[in-house]
Symmetry: C2
Subunit: 392 residues, 2 copies
């Protein structure tokens, strides 16, 4: 029943890379795209107006965090996470799987779900596929993620298999609950994305993709509106990650958007696009901003370096972001040294803009048929870097 | 020689209150006006674009803080405090007198100046009238304040007299140094404002005003382009402060803007306007923002109150600021509880806008001849408050 609200069209391809448009109830997302992360319904330090101005089209929020504070029922009563946060464009909520499984000693996993203690007040909580669907329906974002069993990136085959198969059983329960919740009149218009797990094991990734595909169309249902690839960029080697993306590229339907979860380093974005990924998210650009780091085409640099003390140049020459159009490295270094909030704002703004603009250029290159060459040159320059590039 | 760059015109008066325009090299300030404080060349958490959008016309920076970090020579080399900070409108620098005299045990006062230890690294520094003029000339703001001897608000007559007379001797030295610095080709276009001190002693205030006036025109010089009233809102009782404003109103020339330093509570702004004050500044609106407090026409309120947890209303109904036009109390309370930077941004923005808008309405009321009645009603409502008003 959510079908008519969602669509995905592909305008151009080059190898596995595609340029397209993902339509959601709240608007269209041009792909490939980087989605800034607003964990607590705010992209740290930034205003929705700034996100819109820099070209952000879809942003994330997190079910685990918003469930604990301020509460997903409160967000629902205030009109859903978009009205609540003042972001009127497309939005996606992560299920919180990553969070509850990261709480190491604080969680107990069973087939039913996960018991964990709140990181805020230590209270005992339980997430099940069903409860997470209720939370994400309360939040009301356009896209909600399944609840999955997340494990460390280097996990052995057996552990990866167990987690992947549990994630698929949980996906079935998510789907049942999602359908029930959305059969109700007045329910928010949402799509549920499954997550392909399987660690760094090609056979598990393939098996997961096949099982998820079957689940999606069971009983003649509309296929999934989009697919996510999870459990990467969590400690595994880069070649392993890229190999898994190749496997998923072949195993996941091409007619739906693919979302590579938690990946947001510039080089990984381009490697992902080359392997057919359409959507990315990562907290890195705002986290970098809080440490003084900023992204440039020749690598990551830290504004605290003494050489920037009197530097009148923008963070990156030629950058069109509202930080670089107005402020010098010297000023931003001063703000950072003085721990002024505007410093982390300006750095975060530049960094988020950097990734959004990178994906905009990737779209243009795919449409022009030059993605492969442009991407190769871009990566060579980024990896070679300037003398600054080695500093973070 | 700075005369042609500065002008003050009065469009309307009502009693001692005046509506006018203060012209500076960087633009015109409609008065009465509230000037947001950007101590370290940033109004805490806010972007110059936001300040401009909310109607800010002139902002402050601080010579003491910028001298220590990043250094006034650096600011000069980067084009002055306005180019450095991205604020292209009128700007004023405070001399740092308030800061160095606040460092209690860390300072040694002599006729020559003040020795003090940097609050950043403990290094020994000296401020003299001459060195402060050099610092403020390096910063290059439109208006620079004299270096004065600041004492506690409740000081006895003898201590107040000593400090006031020293401040006047220092003013003479400031003027000499200022003139020498600005006789140089390419010097920034700046005006030096004297500060009337004298504590809560009417005779000292009158004597100071008279002596300052004589100093201003000594040798046929252009009179001061503006006058400041210092040493108020520093611990004295409100009636004492208002009485001193009455004294100053009568003692200071009416054809120049009067700036009441460090005063920024809403009630004090209106009481000041009624006594002929044109310019105000205070860190309160951004400091309030960092504690969760926000201003309303019925008093100061704290967003952390539990009753705001699900409150869909803006901070203040009918407020035109960009916070109130877009965000609910519930959302801002959530951001504040989660210590998200956007929370203090939105609160600071509202609070600074509140004082700027209050002065805009005061101007309109003076022009309409309704200031006295409007101000009385406004103050009655503000002091009476709603049940919320007692909370801060």
């Amino acid at each position: 029943m959510t079908g008519p609200d969602f669509a995905f069209t592909i305008d151009a391809t080059e190898g596995s890379a595609r340029a397209g448009a993902f339509t959601t109830p709240r608007g269209v997302v041009e792909t490939p795209a980087f989605m800034p992360v607003g964990t607590l319904a705010t992209v740290k330090s930034l205003d929705p107006v700034e996100l819109r101005a820099m070209g952000a089209q879809m942003i994330l929020a997190n079910a685990y965090h918003l469930h604990l504070r301020p509460g997903d029922d409160l967000v629902r009563d205030l009109g859903g996470v978009q009205r609540f946060s003042g972001w009127d464009g497309p939005m996606l909520t992560d299920s919180g799987g990553f969070q509850v499984f990261s709480l190491k000693s604080l969680n107990t996993i069973s087939e039913e779900g996960v018991e964990f203690r709140s990181h805020i007040d230590g209270s005992l909580r339980q997430f099940t596929p069903e409860s997470v669907m209720r939370i994400e329906t309360n939040l009301g974002a356009d896209v909600m993620m399944q609840f999955d069993h997340v494990i460390p990136g280097q996990s052995a085959h057996s552990a990866s298999k167990d987690a992947s198969e549990r994630s698929i059983r949980w996906l079935a329960r998510c789907r049942t609950e999602f359908d029930a919740l959305h059969a109700v009149e007045g329910a928010p218009r949402q799509a549920l994305f499954p997550i392909v797990q399987g660690g760094i094991h090609a056979d598990l990734r393939r098996e997961a993709a096949a099982a998820i595909g079957e689940l999606g169309t069971a009983g003649g249902a509309t296929p999934w509106q989009g697919w996510a690839i999870g459990g990467l960029s969590v400690g595994e080697a880069k070649p392993d990650m890229y190999a898994m993306l190749d496997v998923c590229d072949a195993a996941i339907p091409r007619d739906r958007p693919r979302y590579l979860m938690g990946v947001g380093y510039p080089e990984d974005l381009l490697e992902g696009v080359a392997r057919g990924v359409d959507l990315f998210d990562c907290v890195a650009p705002t986290r970098f901003g809080r440490t003084g780091a900023f992204l440039t085409a020749t690598g990551r640099v830290n504004i605290k370096r003494s050489e920037f003390r009197r530097d009148p140049r923008p963070l990156e020459e030629g950058c069109g972001c509202s930080t670089c159009r107005r402020f010098s490295r010297a000023y931003i270094r001063h703000l950072t040294a003085a721990e002024e909030v505007l410093g982390l704002r300006l750095l975060s703004l530049h960094n988020v803009h950097f990734l959004i603009a990178l994906m905009r250029r990737a779209r243009e290159a795919i449409r022009a048929g030059t993605f492969s060459a442009w991407s190769r040159d871009w990566l060579a320059r980024f990896h070679a870097g300037s003398p600054q590039a080695t500093d973070s």
